[in-house]
């Protein structure tokens, strides 16, 4: 599908061509019909309306929330309760019917969704105001978690990705504020359990909605939410030496399970966009892990963190899931070079870390191996960029290689003259690679010259 910008430009150019006699009016009509010039203004109007409606809805929701702070005290409490519930129900009901009775992607449809969003925001306002009117005090994180749950319920029922994203944001606020507040010894053990098992809860709560809503944005938000809660729960540390085998294995699995889970992520309902996003995130995490462990200092660590049974529960859940997916992936396509390379990199990383942690400390060898793996990742990215003519991938690969070279230059005590030489060579290398790449993507295969008679 051509972008609106291209269509608008084409419409402008086509008019010029018609006026100059380069194309006939039939040709213009064909172009107009094919690229739907008639819809261009409507699309622009709709997009503008969509933005306004979204901003308006957010402001409306914030307005209701701010209303809480204004302490609406002039009327009796019963009247206030009834009015608030009325506003809440009206927003949701009107939003639903406006959304349902309008054409998809029309401004009315967006208005309906905006009203539903405002209704979801007013759910929190209602809850907070009820607590305030009845002088009930409580931890804020409980409000956000409950609010997020309520919004998620509506999101599932209506299969609306916008509400799903709102639910993720609210639950995220509840999670991060609740981490320090909740305590296992008090009556809040259920909330503590919810927060500590949030990685599992988030996977079960958000991913199905992303699929049913067919929303890459919601899927991306879900995956980011899962990753952030996992990393917080696992408490990642560099692989320490002289550990017991179970401790070393646990530590290593904690470090590589998320890249493995993301890389092998698949489902019978898999949308290719979801898989692509997961793979990109997986490579990013691998690069971060590889970059961090390409330094020498982390390999000198001897710190083994204390872990709770929640850590084991979350770790087991994702390890089982990732392990199963990796196995199915290998079974499905053994000839995919990229897939094999990434899984091999994960395997080598795990082996080196376990060896260093539980068998013999090998800081020097481990640093060398991780630098080699990082080089392979960078070169692999650049190669993928070349094959797919993707500037982003190619330059990401080169950037990674350059970053690796600079890191080693500054990590070790090298002479200024060597640093200067490296900078010059890197600069020359980038210029040469850039020019060559641009030339390559313009003419990837030289034309075959026919034999002259």
């Amino acid at each position: 599908m051509a972008t609106d910008k291209f269509r608008r430009q084409l419409q402008k150019e086509a008019r010029l061509w018609q006026n100059e006699g380069l194309i006939s009016s039939e040709c213009y009509d064909q172009l107009a019909d094919r690229y739907q010039f008639a819809n261009l203004e409507t699309v622009a109007r709709n997009r503008f309306a969509i933005v306004l409606i979204l901003i308006g809805s957010l402001l409306m929701g914030l307005g209701v929330i701010t209303f809480v702070a204004a302490n609406w005290q002039d009327w009796g409490r019963n009247i206030r309760v009834v009015l608030l519930l009325l506003v809440f129900v009206t927003l949701n009901v009107s939003g639903f019917y406006v959304w349902q009775r309008s054409a998809q992607q029309s401004w009315q449809s967006m208005l309906g969704r905006g009203l539903l969003l405002a209704g979801s925001l007013s759910l929190g306002a209602n809850m907070a105001l009820m607590a305030q009117m009845f002088h009930i005090s409580g931890a804020e994180y409980k409000l956000y978690l409950t609010w997020g749950f309520g919004v998620l319920l509506m999101a599932y029922s209506l299969r609306l990705p916008l509400l799903g994203i709102c639910a993720i944001a609210l639950t995220g606020i509840g999670y991060w504020t609740g981490l320090g507040a909740v305590d296992m010894d008090t009556q809040d053990w259920l909330w503590h359990l919810l927060i500590q098992c949030m990685p599992i809860v988030a996977s079960i709560a958000y991913l199905p909605l992303a699929y049913w809503g067919r929303s890459p944005l919601l899927f991306g938000c879900s995956v980011l939410a899962i990753i952030s809660t996992v990393f917080n729960n696992f408490g990642l540390t560099p692989p320490a030496s002289s550990q017991s085998f179970p401790d070393a294995l646990r530590n290593v699995i904690a470090l590589i399970v998320m890249p493995a889970w993301l890389w092998s992520y698949r489902h019978s309902w898999s949308d290719i966009r979801f898989i692509t996003l997961c793979r990109k995130l997986s490579i990013l995490l691998l690069i971060i892990l590889g970059f961090f462990l390409s330094f020498f200092d982390p390999w000198l660590s001897s710190y083994t963190p204390e872990v709770s049974w929640f850590h084991w529960l979350n770790l087991s859940f994702f390890t089982t899931w990732a392990g199963y997916n990796c196995y199915k992936q290998i079974q499905a396509d053994r000839s995919d070079l990229t897939n094999s390379t990434v899984l091999a990199i994960l395997g080598v990383m795990a082996l080196v870390m376990v060896w260093h942690g539980a068998i013999v400390p090998i800081p020097v060898v481990a640093t060398f191996i991780f630098n080699a793996l990082l080089f392979i990742l960078g070169a692999g990215l650049a190669r993928e960029g070349l094959l797919g003519s993707s500037r982003l991938q190619f330059w990401s690969g080169l950037l990674l290689l350059g970053l690796q070279i600079f890191s080693r230059t500054f990590e070790y005590d090298t002479a200024l003259i060597l640093k200067s030489l490296i900078f010059i060579l890197c600069g020359l290398g980038i210029i040469t690679a850039g020019i060559w790449f641009e030339k390559y993507i313009r003419c990837p295969n030289p034309p075959i010259q026919p034999n002259q008679p």
Partner: protein
């Protein structure tokens, strides 16, 4: 047109959300309707914690560990674990309108009490006991007046004086309490 979604898919989650909203004041409403009225003496207002936002943070005589130790016949404070609720037995004053007096402390809810006594449930936390009565929301328009009155009271307080500020609360059968009114000198503020 969109693929039509049955209206039930709106009304069902909406009903659950309304129940969620209604559940917040449900317990408080029940206690208001069925509970016993009690007057609690507030502890001196911390001069370094001015009125913040739109609520007054309250502390009581029965909020402090050292005050509870003076009760005598009670389990040792060592037995009180943070996280487990405790019950303060309050006795009605001889003269109505005066604050109720703490007479005992128990780890379990008492099965029966004399007519002039009731049990108030508290949650030990970080060196004090919380009763769910620590916050009293005050409307924006009234904050300045109450602030001024509190400031006047604070200036007139001696080191061991009790401020003439009391909280009227309703206590339910299970010991949970909800605030009803703030009594400052002879004025009763209900919000």
């Amino acid at each position: 047109m969109q693929t039509r979604i049955p209206a039930l898919r709106l009304w069902l989650p909406l009903a659950i959300q309304v129940l969620m909203i209604a559940s917040i004041p449900a317990t408080a409403t029940w206690i208001y309707a069925t509970g016993k009225t009690v007057i609690l003496q507030t502890a001196p207002v911390d001069p370094y914690s001015p009125l913040l936002g739109y609520s007054q943070t309250l502390s009581y005589d029965v909020s402090r560990w050292d005050n509870l130790e003076k009760l005598g016949k009670m389990h040792s404070i060592d037995y009180i674990k943070r996280g487990k609720p405790i019950y303060i037995i309050l006795e009605a004053p001889a003269q109505a309108g005066n604050p109720w007096r703490p007479v005992a402390i128990q780890l379990e809810k008492p099965n029966s009490l004399p007519a002039n006594q009731l049990a108030l449930r508290g949650q030990p936390e970080y060196g004090q006991i919380r009763y769910g009565l620590e916050t009293y929301y005050i409307p924006e328009g009234k904050i300045q007046d109450i602030n001024r009155e509190f400031e006047q009271i604070r200036r007139g307080l001696g080191p061991d004086s009790r401020p003439p500020i009391w909280l009227e609360a309703r206590v339910g059968a299970d010991g949970q309490a909800v605030p009803v009114a703030l009594i400052v000198r002879d004025r009763r503020y209900t919000y």
